[in-house]
């Protein structure tokens, strides 16, 4: 279980939170004017990177506040969490953003090897 830092309450166990998918996906301010494709991008499409990922969480069994977090999806390390109103941190500002996966596996592919690949 992860420990997640709620910007309002501090570090808490993952079971108090609900994940809300990718962060910084903005809702078109002029829905009437966007094309079907643009609207679908907002409604249906999300990125799924291996590595740095900006995502939303809500402290559902706590203060009920939504916030954003940066997680490295290959290590599950949460590098930062911040209030919704804050700007998206630039990757350069994130310490540890170049963390490698446990076994130093390739950039693409899933799973961790138990033995270091040389």
């Amino acid at each position: 279980m992860l420990i997640i830092e709620c910007p309002y309450c501090g570090p808490r166990e993952q079971c108090e939170f609900t994940n809300g998918g990718e962060a910084h996906v903005s809702r078109p301010s002029n829905p009437e004017e966007v094309t079907d494709k643009e609207w679908s991008e907002y409604v249906f499409f999300r990125s799924n990177p291996k590595g740095i990922y900006f995502e939303r969480w809500v402290h559902s069994h706590g203060c009920r506040k939504w916030f954003n977090a940066v997680r490295d999806t290959s290590t599950d390390k949460i590098l930062r969490s911040y209030e919704i109103k804050n700007d998206k941190p630039s990757p350069a500002d994130l310490e540890d953003s170049n963390l490698t996966t446990p076994s130093g596996e390739p950039d693409v592919g899933s799973g961790n090897f138990t033995v270091k690949k040389l």
């Binding site: 279980m1 992860l2 420990i3 609900t18 809300g20 809702r27 078109p28 829905p31 009437e32 966007v34 079907d36 609207w39 679908s40 907002y42 409604v43 249906f44 939303r56 809500v58 559902s60 009920r64 506040k65 939504w66 290590t75 599950d76 919704i84 109103k85 446990p102 076994s103 799973g111 961790n112 090897f113 138990t114 033995v115 270091k116 040389l118």
Partner: protein
Amino acid sequence: MTAQNNKDVTHIAFHQSINFTFDGVKYRGFKGDTIASALIRNNVRVVGRSFKYHRPRGIYTCGIEEPNALVQILSEHNEPNTRATIKQIYEGLEVESQNCWPSLENDLGSINSLLSPLFSAGFYNKTFMRPRGFWKKVYEPLIRKAAGLGKPPKPFRTTSTQLHHHVDVVIVGGGLSGLLAAKSLAKTELKILIIEQDGFLGGILKNSNKISTIENKDNKLWIKELEKKLEGLENIKILKNTLATTYNYINHLIAIEDRTTGTLPLDGNVDQILHKIRADHIILANGHIERLVSFRNNDLPGIMLAGSFEKFIQRYGVIPETNPVIFSNNSSCLSLIKKLIDLNCKPQAYVDSRSGDKIEPELLKIIHKKNIPLFTNAHIEGCDGKKQVQEISVRDAEGIITKLKSKMLCVSGGFNPDVHLFTQSKGVLSWDDEYLTFKPDKSFQNTIVLGSNAGIFQYSKIVNDINTKLSFLDHEPLLEIDLTLNDTDKYSIEKLWETKHEKESRWSKSFIDLQNDVTTKDLRQGIQEGFDRIEHLKRFTTNSMGTDQGKISSINALGIVSEILDKKVSEVGTTIYRPPYAPLSFASIAGRGTYDFYDPERKTSIHEWHKKNGAIFEDVGQWKRPWYFKSHPEENLYEAVQREAVHVRKYAGVLDGSTLGKIEIKGSDALEFMNLMYTNNFSKMKPMSARYALMLGEDGMVMDDGIISKINDKHFIATTTTGGAAKVLSHMEEFAQTEWPHLNVFLNSITEQFCTFNISGPNTRLIMEKVFKDIKFDNENFPFMTFGNFTYLKSTVRILRASFTGELGYEIYVRPSIALKLWEDLFRFGKDEGLIAYGTETMHLLRAEKGYIIVGQDTDGSVTPHDMDLEWMIGKNKKDFIGKRSLTRTDTIRSDRKQLVGIKPIDPNDIIEEGQHIILTSSIKPPVKMLGHVTSSYVSPNLGHSFGMAVIKDGKKLIGSKAYVSSSSKGAFEIEIIKPIFIDEENKRLVS
């Protein structure tokens, strides 16, 4: 017939006899014995049959790694797959062997052994594919009878519980390294938890003969003194009989504590505790596990790992056999040979795969001195015997076979650091060329690995290693510790995974995985068939997939595979070790969360009244809602609903709607927010009026519905479906916080602050006028979809004129404290007007007659308002609301989407069933073209026939035409497609 007691042990009470039964036969052991040690004391060698071939099997090890000796505990709700090498006996314990049919001695299943070509690698995937249909009728029943591990337990109530710990340091393993680590950390301020799987501390100091004194003290005394010191410290806690099973992310450990070791679990007492531990640093000092060597018939009862044999002597005070043959490829059997000699039991022979110049001089010296027959450069070719070892074949360097008559063979194939927890933590392993095993290399978390668990197999290096690795914790460095060894300081080993065997018969098998009956031949065959990746090979052969997860053999399998593939073992890699380390009962995971504590039950304030008045309840989420009311004990659901439904339309009925979700929306921007959340336009709505409203997801699909009451532009109250309350509130919160944080709006759930009664029927107004004498209920003063706040019993009640039945109706919102009083008043005044209480089933029928949908029943997350014939609810002039843009996507404006229609049978005696398909022909012979399906259906006493709602392709255009509906009793019958409204289309009753 040759086991002997060794009374010089501390953990067996030889003065305390314990009686237990194994397969119905009475045996006697001593307090402290495990089932295994007690059976060995009684010279019981065969304790079970193997998984696939039903070969007789004996006790192979003396601990958690046991692959064979799994038993069923009859005296504890038939608990299956219990390790006989762990479970301690108590007076009255009843044990049964597993996989034996009809009995352990005469097992019919061992015929599988003769059919073994059928059961080779991948047999599940290959043998049973043909002929088609045979799997279900022939193969599966046979396999189910013959295979499997144990029988399922009987139902029981768990008495386990869970505890959470937050500490600085966890030390897993209270053996030599763990104790030394604790000793050096004792004076720090760190909060430390020591987890020991046994009932005592000491590990190798007590389980083996390898060390006889430490710091010039007898082992037992040294442990006793240190333990006393540690126990006296505030910052250290020791958990015994506790096994760490799981190492999660962020140093989160799960450990299971057995509280009933050596006793019968008593009802009401906690039998196990699941510890959930979060720590800053985890020290893994959980030692090593001995591995086997594969040779012909290396599964015969009477074969045991050498270290386990030593453990039986040292710890359980039983010498399984006074003159065993010992076979090894490493230095570790020295301590066992010394122990046997000390006990006047001479090994019958010592067989070492190493050449004489590589064998430790100390070992050779003692063997020569005691005249023990020695075979160097030699292998065990195989073993023979009926149900147990009788003859052991030794092949020397020249290939000459010597046959030894013996009943016991001790085998040591070397040691592996028990890296299971380390790899669960995502630590990375590396291959050690000297010790021929995988050992921890790089930690991924704050993990420190000590002692043999770190691959340090040299006593003189332990202390320095601890000092180096713990220095960052400001520990007190340990001084070099004096040990008196019955072992060489440094362990040495030569590669030997499997020996060549000669005798070819169907019975000759060289096993790699004893529990799953996987042979070394299976590994070869698997690779030959293309499964040369270790993860694939594991699944194809089922190697190391048993409950023991191949603890004594998985590294050997990697060794054998590496040789077949001619690769390095490090290139072959290991399969991924997954939690738990050893099986964890579901009962311990569930803890207290069973039966009454499984899920909360929510009851309305009127619950007791419902019970007294014949209500049968249904679960709606966590709520208990009256489903229907029995007017007499024999009345069934159908009869009650028919009666209630007629009665409400004729007189009056009241439904306890308290479970409806209620959300209060307040703030200066409440109006704008509501206009964004719902499809409707609330701007022109008058204060103190209400509206049926629809909520969509951003994909344009119907998500929830409810009635919105507008008190003013800054204050709304929304109702939601019973099941949707939490979801709707979260959905609103999400958008309020993330998309429109500039809007000044506050949301609050008030579901439990108000009870709701839905009263409807032609006589309703008469009843309301009698109960609320000061309120004018006529159409002029109280029109449809308006509400007001009134005083009742000095408390505010809100009354809304609305209806979910299509009849004249009101919703009353009242505080729970006076809700029952009001409910009873309704009946006191309503008695003469024929008021009855009705349940959810009648409510469903009545709303369907009126054509009102239920979100979640008639909708399934893939229908738009247009599909549901609810376009009229969309605020046309609104620039935006959630889901609006999606309603004009090319996919949502298709004309051939499934749309809501009403259906009725042409023959009024036919009954439409929910979930059935709407089709075009009376024939249901495949292929049948399907138009859609029935979402709701009821037999209506008010219409005199069955009817339904359905979603069908292009449904609106098909209204007025005929089709068919499939049926569970008669193929398909004809129906008419009509508008989805069956009663009072003009709303005359609603506004009467």
